[in-house]
């Protein structure tokens, strides 16, 4: 896509106020997560900073270190505002890394299946179909339980649960491109199969993949939160949003709502905002919805 097309794309995107607002929210959250060490009073992963006397304090409580815990503290005495930003950091990191890996693996598989057809297509796409026929969370749960805790393991589980969506989308887009004359022209030159796949089919199949990627990053984040909530995600020393929610869950009924609710709100805002941006991009790239 060149600069001119990008500008036209942005002009159309900016016509929708909700989408612009959603994009601003996503960017703000990303910026806050990236700058978390600079704008938070506490490093929630450094156990030396935590004081149990500050545990389970309500929002606004001024702790032993002399600053206010604007969103309260959790059961270990972590400042929730800091923990949420650090948690967002991990969630975004997991979502983006898993999304990018799933995009490259799934996208390549789908395009290769579309290009070669025949048995290769049958093999790849039936495995993908099989996997799409049961819920991603189930596969992620089984894998997370088998592989154990840790970032690498978690990303592997997320990728395994999500690549199939990319493969399906890439296959659909590349099958349509495959039949166009420019692919035939490339084959008639002749150019090698890998060149046709990566230089011609891939760039032309990218728009729908980008749409799926935005939505799948949001899904990866919520999947990671779910796994962490169920205790299969990251180690408790580095709580992600899901684990913060899980940790606070047992105190919900005792009136200490803030431990679960604030991380939950942060998670919802992030996922809703990413989905709104993704929906707008999808509508813009879908020529059938064009006015």
């Amino acid at each position: 896509m060149n600069a001119e097309a990008l500008r036209a794309f942005w002009d159309e995107f900016s016509e929708s106020r909700i989408s612009v607002a959603a994009l601003a929210v996503v960017l703000a959250i990303v910026a806050a997560a990236v700058c978390a060490p600079l704008i938070t009073p506490q490093d929630p992963y450094d156990l030396g900073n935590l004081s149990l006397s500050d545990a389970r304090r309500p929002p606004g409580f001024v702790g032993s270190k002399g600053y206010a815990h604007v969103l309260g503290t959790d059961a270990q005495g972590r400042d929730l505002y800091s923990a949420i930003l650090y948690g967002l950091r991990i969630s975004l990191q997991m979502g983006l890394v898993a999304g990018a890996i799933a995009l490259s693996i799934g996208g390549t598989l789908g395009i290769v299946a579309a290009y070669f057809g025949g048995r290769i297509e049958t093999l790849i796409m039936r495995i993908v179909d099989l996997q799409l026929s049961f819920p991603a969370i189930l596969l992620a749960l089984v894998l997370a339980a088998l592989l154990g805790q840790g970032k690498t393991q978690l990303v592997s589980a997320l990728v395994a649960a999500q690549y199939a969506y990319f493969a399906r989308t890439a296959f659909g887009a590349a099958s349509a491109e495959r039949r166009k004359d420019y692919v035939e022209a490339a084959a008639a030159t002749p150019l090698s199969g890998s060149r046709i796949v990566f230089r011609h089919l891939l760039p032309n199949s990218l728009p729908p993949l980008i749409v799926v990627a935005t939505v799948q990053v949001a899904n990866a984040i919520s999947l990671e939160a779910t796994l962490s909530f169920l205790g299969l995600g990251l180690p408790p020393t580095e709580p992600s949003l899901g684990m913060l929610i899980a940790n606070g869950f047992q105190y919900m009924m005792s009136g200490r709502y803030w431990i679960s609710v604030y991380p939950g709100i942060a998670l919802i805002i992030l996922i809703v905002a990413i989905n709104l941006v993704g929906d707008q991009i999808r509508d813009q790239l879908n020529p059938r919805l064009r006015r």
Partner: protein, 332 residues
């Protein structure tokens, strides 16, 4: 025709739908599963001399594009083979020569929309080592100039061009591979008439300058007359007439050729003289027996329904596949 440069020998192309798993199981169990195969090209033999332009004409669906794709090495033939100076064009379903290049019908589809045209032109030559990476820029500019475009267009994308300009880019892409043979599949059919003339003239000039051999596929008899020394007329997958363009147009030896020529609307003579060929082109799924043209032929006799006429020499240099070739009257 001993000096065959490009030899098409008994080429057939059959498209058989692939049976699904269910159908295959049914067939294995003895069910009556019918795979309706289309015989697009049947045992076509042609030779093209070095430097010659051969026109291939016929109605839509007669198999001329399929034959062109087989010659260009895009589709493997089901039977027979295509050789360029004794070298096979394809081996194991893959094209093995770069000496035959193709210009496609629709310039809006045949250029990769996400590739700058400079790269579109240099991609093949770079991949085959015909040009060094350092010289690719000036190489692309030179080719744009050769086909009559501004060399500064190299950084543009296809959507920034009109149909005629795009077709020039497609021609530059094909010629940049330094081919001996250019297969043109209806290269002007999707262009405006005024642009058509420009592109035809471009072909004429490039042919002369580059000593190209051409297979020019078209349903437009006028374009073929302009560009080609010889013409082959195709009907339902077979060549029905072959000869020098001028002679074939003046005195066709096959009733189908005659009907084709008469179906071209004329400006002279006043009034609408348009006379379509009687009947529809038969389905290639279920072609008529013997001579495929007999259901529409004004000269058909009983023999035409029983015995398929061979493509025989009617006059020196003229071939026709008709039992009554000698009785075909000149086109009106």
């Amino acid at each position: 025709m001993s000096e065959g440069f490009l030899t098409i020998r008994e080429v057939s192309k059959r498209f058989a739908p692939q049976l699904g798993l269910g159908d295959r199981i049914a067939a294995r169990l003895g069910g009556a599963v019918e795979a309706r195969a289309v015989q697009a090209v049947s045992e076509v033999s042609l030779t093209i001399r070095r430097g010659e332009a051969l026109g291939l004409v016929g109605e839509s669906g007669c198999g001329k594009s399929t034959l062109g794709r087989v010659v260009a090495g895009i589709l493997p033939p089901s039977g027979g083979e295509v050789r360029l100076e004794q070298e096979p064009v394809m081996a194991n379903g893959r094209k093995t020569t770069t000496r035959i290049q193709t210009v496609f019908q629709d310039p809006f589809a045949s250029l990769d929309p996400r590739m700058r045209i400079g790269e579109t032109i240099t991609e093949g030559p770079l991949a085959h080592g015909l040009v060094k990476a350092a010289e690719a820029g000036s190489f692309a500019r030179r080719w744009l100039e050769t086909v009559g475009l501004d060399p500064d267009f190299v950084t543009r994308y296809p959507h920034q061009f009109s149909g005629g300009q795009r077709q020039r880019v497609a021609i530059a892409r094909a010629l940049a591979m330094a081919p001996d043979v250019l297969v043109c599949d209806e290269p002007v059919a999707s262009l405006d008439v005024s642009i058509q003339a420009q592109i035809v003239n471009l072909f004429l000039r490039l042919r002369r300058e580059l000593e190209l051999t051409m297979l020019f596929i078209s349903h437009d008899l006028g374009v073929v007359r302009h560009l080609c020394e010889r013409v082959a007329v195709m009907y339902l997958g077979r060549i029905v007439e072959l000869g020098p363009t001028g002679e074939v147009y003046a005195a066709p030896k096959h009733p189908y050729t005659r009907a084709l020529i008469e179906a071209v609307p004329k400006l002279s003579g006043g009034g609408a003289a348009f006379r379509p060929i009687a009947g529809e082109i038969p389905s290639p799924l279920d072609p008529p027996t013997a001579c495929a043209f007999h259901p529409r032929c004004p000269l058909a006799i009983a023999r035409c329904r029983i015995e398929r006429p061979a493509l025989r020499e009617v006059e020196p240099g003229r071939r026709a596949a008709c039992h009554r070739a000698e009785e075909v009257s000149p086109a009106a």
